[in-house]
Amino acid sequence: MRFDQVWFRYGRRAGWTLRAVDAVVPPGRTVVVLGRNGAGKSTLLQLAAGVLTPVRGTVRDRPPVVGWVPERFPADQPFTAGQYLQRMAALRGLRGPAEVERWLDRLKLTEHCGTRLADLSKGTAQKVGLAQALLVRPGLLVLDEPWEGLDSVARTLIPELVADVTAAGGAVLVSDHRGEIAGLPDAIRWQVTDGAVRPDDDAAPDHVVVEVAVRRSEADQTVTRLRADGHRVLGIRDPHADDTAGRAR
């Protein structure tokens, strides 16, 4: 799956949340999206899943079956966990309770099968969210902060589920702002900063990021000089011109 010059904003008057995103999610691999709160990680994930549509550019080669685990499971629904998963299975074209029962069992949800969604704890609701995304094996699994609310035992499930999907040739996109990435050692890392997405290969321990403000007229000259000195310029942004900011040169 490929992001091809994807731009996104939440309204005509809003600033760009993501700008000129060019990135590839290889099949069979896991991509961890890093970034501070509000950087645009969830937006990027929803664009990948197809929940949001780019304002400019396109997302190409999205697999036909996409599983999406939203950051907050929509628990305000008048169903029990079992009824909800059965209905979601029907939406995916599954007949019979076998697949639902398999996931209830695997995610240790069987005892909560008859509990109303609104009465579930945050972690249990999150597991229901995981189950609905995995009822049919996804070609792309999008996990938005999947560790939120899960206890230490349940947390170990995430790398297992991710490994299952990638082993079958599917791709996984997962956001993380809590440092849980250690459970996914082979993952590709993307960093979302100021609307731009770039590989997080500057995470080496001997590197730091220094933000420098320069006069507009001297920007090009400074970039050239920094590069000549062997530094890597990660991005240039103009705080007064939202639309043109943030593109790495």
Partner: protein, 232 residues
């Protein structure tokens, strides 16, 4: 799509959101039939006009019953087109049930009477047929208005209510006899006026009204489809 339609109807009924339009409908029917019995065609014609905003409201409530995130999950599961269509189908099924109940409700209370002997009033069966048509045309327009007022399109409750109320008021005001642009509104008032005429207008008039309502609803629902393409 059928599974999603069933899920949405179940969610709407179980959540208790169906109660408010039901009570509003009872008030409307009480106002229409409280004064005594009346011939079928004009009574049902007025009933269709007065139930139009209630049906549009019910459509909006049904489409808004699902949390936004769940609507997006459903969209991923069945596709954007089927997700939007399933909501409309669920609203149409409940709307038909609502209209049927509204037409049957006055019968036990003798709210509908047979043709008066010696008059040019239509027969009871003809009057009921005109009433069914009037309710179906009102439902068609209400589905379109309710869909355009739904949260998936308008984003906020305030905007949604503005579209709903403005649409309902304009449908009546623009449909008045001396309106400058009656074609801008669905033919609710025109159908009600036709239903009160004695003798009833010929079939051609009702065919024209049906085509008008279908054209209006098609245009409005096409607008809904275009808006929903970008708004999940």
């Amino acid at each position: 799509m059928i599974a999603l339609t069933r899920m949405r109807i179940a969610a709407f009924l179980r959540s208790g959101r169906a109660l408010a339009p039901l009570i509003a409908g009872l008030v409307v029917l009480g106002l229409i039939y409280g004064g005594g019995s009346s011939a079928a065609a004009p009574a049902y014609g007025y009933s269709a006009v007065m139930l139009f905003p209630v049906l549009a409201w019910q459509t909006k409530l049904l489409l808004d019953a699902e949390p936004d995130v769940q609507r997006r999950l459903a969209r991923l599961a069945v596709g954007a087109g089927h997700e939007a269509s399933a909501g409309l189908l669920a609203a149409a099924i409940l709307g038909v049930a609502y209209c049927a109940a509204a037409m049957l409700a006055p019968l036990p209370f003798h709210g509908i009477r047979d043709r008066l002997p010696g008059t040019a009033e239509p027969a009871l069966a003809t009057g009921v047929a005109v009433g069914v048509l009037a309710h179906l045309l009102a439902l068609l327009a209400a589905l379109a208005l309710g869909a355009l007022a739904s949260r998936a399109v308008t984003g906020t409750i305030r905007n949604g209510l503005t579209v709903l109320v403005l649409g309902a008021v304009l449908a009546v005001v623009l449909g008045l006899g001396d309106s400058v642009a009656p074609w801008l509104a669905p033919p609710l008032m025109a159908t009600a006026r036709a239903a009160t005429e004695v003798p009833l207008p010929d079939l051609g008039r009702f065919t024209l009204l049906t085509a008008w309502a279908a054209g209006w609803a098609t245009a409005a629902l096409a607008g809904y489809a275009v808006l929903r393409r970008r708004r999940a």
